[in-house]
Symmetry: C2
Subunit: 375 residues, 2 copies
């Protein structure tokens, strides 16, 4: 694909400019940065797939947890680009037709992605010049912790920054009257082993169901590339959610938040370690692990991109991180703790992050896996 | 499918109750009434299709111009029900997996349909009992005057109340400075033959492109059932759009609307006669016409359903029709003539319809066609 095609991709991104100060756009930039780091892994694996199978008629690609911004279409531009280049370097014919399925939950704002599709189609069309296939984009609503497609249907599954969301928060198996994770909303370095176990159990259950569902839907010879927030066991703070718990704890002490509410609430997210991911994939048994890598990226990585010298004081960093985390977690937190305390919560959050960032390196440990189905 | 399954369908419809007084709900009811009248044609043709082909793995169904209400899912419930019964009566296995593709333009509110899907899935699941297949619903945005799916992909195309929308309003081929349809926004009984010709030409061009695109996408042995607003050549008034032109003309006389605006604006709709439909299908050449029927339905048919004795004065009918037409035409009319005059326009519209209804039978002539691909 030529530069012109990539410029069209940039145009899709450009549509967010007017929203630069909203936290959604900031989040999209972080996810985009991660996607850029994963690109080389994508390239290797798409190339391997295309050397193994002949996609004669229609190549089916699915993006799981596409969310509602322009990221999903940028990712698809990249993937089509990679497929095109892989076809050329392998001296193979480029697939003539692509069906792209964008998946997210039923409550996702699909309308906002769909409005970007005409520009996307036009960029493909402009670049086609008879060499590149036609694209049909479909939205597929539903949970990826279950079936989304017929058997042996998809050639290439992609998912970025979605699989750390669990289908539900972990529960204690025994007595529901006793809180699993008193005084916190997520795992922290001081959590008891039962908290870890409950979270891991939920992740294992969900991820196994995800793998089983996808193995039924993936065509023989197809691949799956997954990127999600994981955990580095050697680190003290792994996830912005841990800091949310600290802030809420302080607010309980001051009587601003009900103690019981905090005690019984947990976020439905889990960052597995690379070892845990490998373990669950092996236990589930449908897939062969081709790649398992971790990629580190600062909580404020996308902020650094926007300033010339990359030097910023911790206050600005704290505020920036608070804003971007608020965009992701506010809906679920305000439903539980009321909207009234959100300003206070994230103002304290910004301050606490500003303090922590002076003594800790706050970064995501992203896990990237590439899987092929057992033949 | 059992009564229970149909009840679930009704539940989907029931979700509109809170909106009873909005014109969208009213429109949905009209379309639903048409769909009910088309059901027997659907049944015959689905049965014929299922006796001709074996849908072994996955049955693919597309609804073209699904709009944004619950109608699309009600239609799909009916079609699945018909397929189930046809399989039983033919002593065939019910298809194991269905993929349903809901199509409409990029600006359509897909989110509102997608939010209804979980209930729809649940109703299918409850009724499945091992006999009925799994359903996957996808949204496919794009114009049906062009390609939407890969070659030989869909088993059954359905479209109701969409194909009377043209891809654009007709244009005069010669001098664009001379209005095609002076003093009107649509064909009337007094329109010159050049107006008719321009509208028919646009319809023919669009409908041929529609047929060509669908013939490429339809699988051998598949069928297509289309219902749209047509025209009865013997009638004086065929379409509510004709009355819009009369009202705007009156407003021009009173200086409330610019004459030039009215002269150069035409609605992008066309109601073809049954003969014209047959003619274009034959000329295009990809399909065999299996059924060509006309079904008449009053402009206020859904109003009659809601009153016990069916007797209503013309003022109430006029207001009701104005409200339901406003829901469909306001966006396009207010973009052209400004939102400010909409209340006045539709108040006059209601009065004029109330007068006309005393002397004319105001009803839609719907054209229903069933097509199979030339083998």
């Amino acid at each position: 694909m030529s530069t012109n095609y990539l410029m069209a991709t940039e145009r899709v991104l450009h549509m967010k400019d007017g929203l630069r100060e909203t936290s959604y756009a900031k989040n999209s930039l972080l996810q985009r940065k991660v996607a850029m780091k994963v690109k080389i892994i994508l390239e290797e694996n798409v190339k391997r797939m295309m050397s193994n199978i002949n996609i004669e008629s229609c190549c089916k690609i699915a993006d799981l947890g596409c969310s509602s911004g322009p990221n999903a279409l940028i990712t698809m531009s990249n993937i089509l680009n990679i497929m095109y280049n892989a076809s050329l370097s392998l001296n193979k014919r480029v697939p003539r037709v692509f069906q792209i399925y964008l998946n997210d939950l039923f409550g996702n704002d699909f309308n906002s992605i769909i409005k970007l599709i005409p520009d996307f189609y036009q960029s493909i069309h402009q670049e086609k010049r008879g060499n590149f296939g036609t694209c049909f984009i479909h939205a597929t609503p539903g949970s990826f912790y279950g079936r989304l497609f017929p058997d042996n249907y998809i050639h290439f599954f992609h998912s970025s920054y979605s699989l750390h969301w669990l289908s539900q928060a972990p529960k204690t198996s025994s007595n529901i009257a006793i809180p699993l994770n008193k005084g916190n909303v997520y795992i922290t370095s001081t959590s008891s082993s039962s908290v870890y176990e409950a979270y891991f159990k939920q992740f294992e259950k969900d991820f196994k169901l995800f793998l089983k569902s996808r193995s039924e839907e993936l065509r023989s010879g197809g691949i799956m590339v997954l990127t999600f927030i994981g955990r580095d066991k050697t680190r003290k703070i792994n996830n912005p959610a841990e800091v949310i718990g600290m802030v809420l704890n302080g607010m309980v002490q001051e009587g601003l938040v009900e103690e019981e509410k905090l005690d019984f609430f947990d976020l439905p997210i889990y960052g597995p370690s690379a070892e845990e991911v490998g373990q669950v994939i092996e236990r589930e048994g449908s897939f062969t692990l081709q790649t398992l890598k971790t990629i580190k990226i600062g909580w404020d990585a996308n902020l650094e991109e926007e300033v010339d010298d990359g030097i910023l004081d911790s206050k600005i960093r704290g505020e920036f991180i608070a804003k971007s985390i608020r965009a992701v977690l506010e809906p679920i937190l305000s439903a539980e703790f009321s909207e009234d305390i959100m300003d206070e919560l994230f103002s304290r959050y910004a301050n606490l992050v500003a303090q922590l960032i002076e003594v800790e390196t706050l970064e995501y440990t992203n896990v990237v896996v590439t899987l092929t189905k057992h033949s």
